[in-house]
C-alpha cells in the first residue's frame, strides 16, 4: 500500500531569503505548517483529478463529487486540528478524509470499490470514513451531519476530552432545517463544534443566491444563533488556517461553537454527471485566477522557499498518487458475501430467520 508522502525536511529558505520575507514566512503560521498546507492542497488536487480520470476509464462506478478548487479549506482546517479532533463532511468529502491522514490508496480504493478501500469497498465515494484518523464520516444527505457533529461534540464536552468537532457542508445546506436545529442546539449548549460552510456559489445546479433570502447563506444566519458573522477567503489556505485555529481554540476552551463561511469555487460541476453549463461565461476563468494552488505556490516562493523545495513536493505528491492508483487497481473487489455482513451487531444480515 502506498504511503502518504511525508513533508520534506525543513528548508533553509528562511535563512537564504531576504529578511522581510523570512519574517513573513515565520509569522504566526510558520514554514512547517505552510509546507504542510501546500502539500495537502496538492494531494487533494491530484487525488481528485485522478479520481476524475478513473471515472473516465470506468474504474469508478456511480457518481462522485470533486473538490477541485476548494482544496485550501480542507487543508487549512486539517492543519489547525488536533489529531484526535473529529471531522464530519459531506459527499464532497474525499479531501476532508484524506487530509486527516487516510491513505491515498485507501481513499482511491474505496472510490473504486476495492478490498483495500477505507471501508473495504462498501461505503463508496460518498461515505468515506476513517475512524482512526478522526474522520467520522461523509454524509450524503444534506444537513444530516450537523446534528451528528453536535452529538459528537456533546460527548466531548460531557467526558471532558477536549476534542473539537469540525463539520463541513456546502452552501445548499443552509436552507435545510437540520442546519438551523443543529446550530441552535450547539449554541444553547456551548458545544465544541465548528460549522464550516464551503460556499462554492452553487447548491447543485442552481446558484445559491437565487434561492436564499440573504446574501451570505451561512454568515448572515449566524446572528440568529448569537454567533458572530465570519466570512473567510476559502481559496487562501493561510486565511483559512487562521480562522480555523481561532475557532477551534475557542471551542476547545469552552467558548462554544462557530459558524464560518468560506468563499470558494468548484472547478468541476456538482458531480460526474454535471458539465456545469449553467455557469455564466467567464466565471470559471475569473475563479481560475484565484486557484488556491498556484496562488499558494507563488506565496511560498515570495516568502523565500526555494523552487527546488516546492517542486520536490510536487513530484513526491504525483508519485504518491501514481503509486496509490496502481495499488488500488491491484486490489481485489470484495466478494458477494459482503452484501450480507454488518447490518446488525452480530456482523450479519439476519438473526433467527
Amino acid at each position: 500500500m502506498a504511503r502518504k508522502p511525508k513533508a520534506p525536511a525543513k528548508s533553509k529558505a528562511a535563512a537564504k531569503a531576504p529578511a522581510n520575507s523570512g519574517s513573513r514566512l515565520n509569522d504566526d503560521i510558520g514554514e512547517d505548517k505552510r509546507l504542510k498546507m501546500f502539500q495537502l492542497q496538492l494531494e487533494v488536487r491530484h487525488l481528485e483529478t485522478r479520481a476524475h480520470d478513473l471515472f473516465l476509464q470506468n474504474l469508478v462506478k456511480g457518481t462522485s463529487h470533486l473538490a477541485v478548487g476548494q482544496e485550501a479549506i480542507a487543508s487549512g482546517f486539517a492543519t489547525a486540528m488536533r489529531s484526535d479532533d473529529y471531522t464530519f463532511c459531506t459527499y464532497r468529502g474525499h479531501a476532508h478524509t484524506m487530509v486527516r491522514g487516510a491513505s491515498m490508496t485507501a481513499v482511491l480504493g474505496e472510490l473504486m470499490g476495492r478490498e483495500c478501500g477505507l471501508l473495504n469497498g462498501k461505503g463508496g465515494s460518498m461515505h468515506l470514513t476513517s475512524v482512526e484518523h478522526g474522520a467520522m464520516g461523509s454524509y450524503a444527505i444534506i444537513g444530516a451531519h450537523l446534528p451528528i457533529a453536535a452529538g459528537a461534540a456533546w460527548k466531548s464536552q460531557y467526558l471532558g476530552t477536549g476534542q473539537v468537532s469540525v463539520c463541513f457542508f456546502g452552501d445548499g445546506t443552509t436552507n435545510i432545517g437540520a442546519f438551523h436545529e443543529a446550530i441552535n442546539m450547539a449554541a444553547v449548549w456551548k458545544l465544541p463544534v465548528v460549522f464550516v460552510c464551503e460556499n462554492n456559489l452553487y447548491m447543485e445546479y442552481t446558484p445559491i443566491g437565487d434561492v436564499t433570502a440573504v446574501e451570505h447563506p451561512a454568515a448572515d444566519r449566524a446572528s440568529a444563533y448569537g454567533l458572530p458573522s465570519i466570512i473567510v477567503d476559502g481559496n487562501d489556505a493561510d486565511a483559512v488556517y487562521r480562522v480555523a485555529r481561532d475557532a477551534i481554540e475557542m471551542a476547545r476552551e469552552g467558548g462554544g461553537p462557530s459558524l464560518i463561511e468560506a468563499k470558494t469555487y468548484r472547478h468541476f460541476g456538482h458531480s460526474r454527471a454535471d458539465p456545469a453549463k449553467y455557469r455564466p461565461e467567464g466565471e470559471l476563468e475569473e475563479w481560475m485566477k484565484k486557484d488556491p494552488i498556484p496562488m499558494y505556490r507563488q506565496r511560498l516562493l515570495d516568502f523565500g522557499i526555494g523552487e527546488n523545495v516546492v517542486s520536490s513536493i510536487e513530484e513526491m505528491v504525483m508519485k504518491a498518487v501514481d503509486d496509490a492508483t496502481e495499488a488500488a487497481k491491484a486490489s481485489p473487489e470484495p466478494g458477494s458475501e459482503y452484501l450480507f455482513k454488518d447490518v446488525w451487531a452480530d456482523g450479519g444480515a439476519s438473526w433467527r430467520n
Binding site: 475512524v131 450524503a140 453536535a150 456533546w154 468537532s165 442546539m185 430467520n353
Partner: protein, 340 residues
C-alpha cells in the same frame, strides 16, 4: 417488588440503566424539568442532573441526529419523541444514519441508541397522537422495533434495548401506560429481545399480537374459552424485528389456525409480514386461512369516533371463530367445537 404501571416501569428501567452506566444519557423535549409529557422521565433529571437528562429544543431531526453523534462516539443515548407521530422529522437520521452507519463503515461506527416514543390510540388524541406506524420502522434493516405490553416487559425489554448494540425503536403503548399494575423487581434483569412471549397456551387457534392490543386479545382468549370452549394461545410478539418466527410457527403447527391482531392499518402492516412468513414456512400446518384483525386503512380518527376505529374484543372473537369453524361459517348457536 414494587407494584407499578407500565410507564413507571419505563421510568424504573431508565433510572436503573443510568445508575449502571454513565454513558447512558436521556434527551428529548420536556424530559428534564417536567419529566416528559407522560411523566416517563419524572424525577430523573433531579437524580442524575441536567447534564444527563437533557431538555432539548423542539427539533426532532436534531434530537435524532444528536443521538447518532453521541452513540457513534461511545455513549448510549435514549432519545424520546413525545409521540410517535412526531418522530417523522427524525426519519432521515434514523433510516439513513442510525440504522446504516454500521453497515456502511463495516462495523467501525455503530449506533447503540434507543428512540422511545409513546404510540397508538386510545387517549382521545388527534391523529398525530394516536397512530401506529411501527411497520415503517420494521421495514428498515439495522433497526430493532420493540413494543412492551406490560410493566414487567417494559422494564426488562427497555433495559435490554439500552444495552443492545443496535439502534432500537422502543414503542410504548400509551393506552395501557396506566391500565394495570404489576409487581416489577428492580433487579436490573433484562428480558431477551429476540423472543416472542407466549402469554397463554392453547390448542385451537393462535392469536398473535403486540402493544395495547394484547389487552383485548387476552380478554378475547378468556371469552373464547369460557363461552365457546375454544382454547386460544396468545403470543405477544414484543420484538417485531428481528422477528422470532419460530415461536409463532411452533404454536401454529399445534393449532393450525392463526389470527393476527394489531392496531395499525391493515395494508402493509406488520401482520402482513407475519402472514407471509406463515405462508412460506407453515402453510401445510394451516387448517384455515390466516385472519387479520387490524385497524382500518384510514387515518386515525378524532376523539369521538376513535372507539369505532380501535380493535375490540368482539372482532378478535369473531375472527378466531371464523378460523376455528372454517370452512363453515360460525353461528351464534355454535357454543362448542363439538357442537360445530
Amino acid at each position: 417488588m414494587t407494584e407499578v404501571t407500565l410507564v413507571q416501569a419505563v421510568s424504573m428501567a431508565l433510572a436503573r440503566a443510568m445508575e449502571e452506566d454513565e454513558n447512558v444519557v436521556l434527551l428529548g423535549e420536556d424530559v428534564g424539568v417536567n419529566g416528559g409529557v407522560f411523566r416517563a422521565t419524572k424525577g430523573l433529571q433531579k437524580k442524575f442532573g441536567s447534564e444527563r437528562v437533557i431538555d432539548t429544543p423542539l427539533a426532532e431531526a436534531a434530537i435524532a441526529g444528536v443521538a447518532v453523534g453521541m452513540a457513534a462516539q461511545g455513549l448510549r443515548p435514549v432519545a424520546e419523541f413525545q409521540f410517535m407521530g412526531f418522530s417523522y422529522p427524525g426519519l432521515d437520521q434514523i433510516i439513513c444514519h442510525a440504522s446504516r452507519l454500521r453497515n456502511r463503515t463495516r462495523g467501525r461506527l455503530s449506533c447503540p441508541i434507543v428512540y422511545r416514543a409513546p404510540y397508538g390510540g386510545g387517549i382521545h388524541g388527534p391523529e398525530h397522537h394516536s397512530e401506529s406506524t411501527e411497520a415503517l420502522y420494521a421495514h428498515i434493516p439495522g433497526l430493532r422495533v420493540v413494543i412492551p405490553s406490560s410493566p414487567v416487559r417494559a422494564y426488562g425489554l427497555l433495559l435490554a434495548a439500552i444495552r443492545d448494540p443496535d439502534p432500537v425503536i422502543f414503542l410504548e403503548p400509551k393506552r395501557i401506560y396506566r391500565a394495570v399494575k404489576q409487581d416489577v423487581e428492580d433487579d436490573g434483569e433484562a428480558l431477551p429481545l429476540d423472543l416472542c412471549f407466549t402469554l397463554r397456551d392453547g390448542d385451537d387457534v393462535t392469536l398473535v399480537t403486540w402493544g395495547a392490543a394484547v389487552k383485548e386479545t387476552l380478554a378475547a382468549a378468556e371469552t373464547l374459552d369460557s363461552r365457546y370452549d375454544i382454547d386460544a394461545a396468545v403470543i405477544d410478539v414484543a420484538t417485531l424485528t428481528p422477528l422470532d418466527m419460530d415461536t409463532i410457527l411452533a404454536s401454529v403447527e399445534k393449532t393450525g389456525r392463526c389470527v393476527i391482531v394489531h392496531e395499525a392499518p391493515s395494508t402493509g402492516g406488520f401482520g402482513a409480514e407475519i402472514a407471509a412468513r406463515l405462508a412460506e414456512r407453515g402453510l401445510l400446518s394451516l387448517l384455515s386461512p390466516i385472519e387479520r384483525v387490524t385497524g382500518y386503512d384510514v387515518v386515525p380518527p378524532g376523539a369521538r369516533t376513535e372507539h369505532r376505529y380501535l380493535i375490540n374484543e368482539d372482532r378478535i372473537i369473531a375472527a378466531a371463530r371464523r378460523a376455528v369453524f372454517f370452512p363453515e361459517a360460525p353461528t351464534e348457536q355454535d357454543h362448542t367445537m363439538e357442537d360445530a
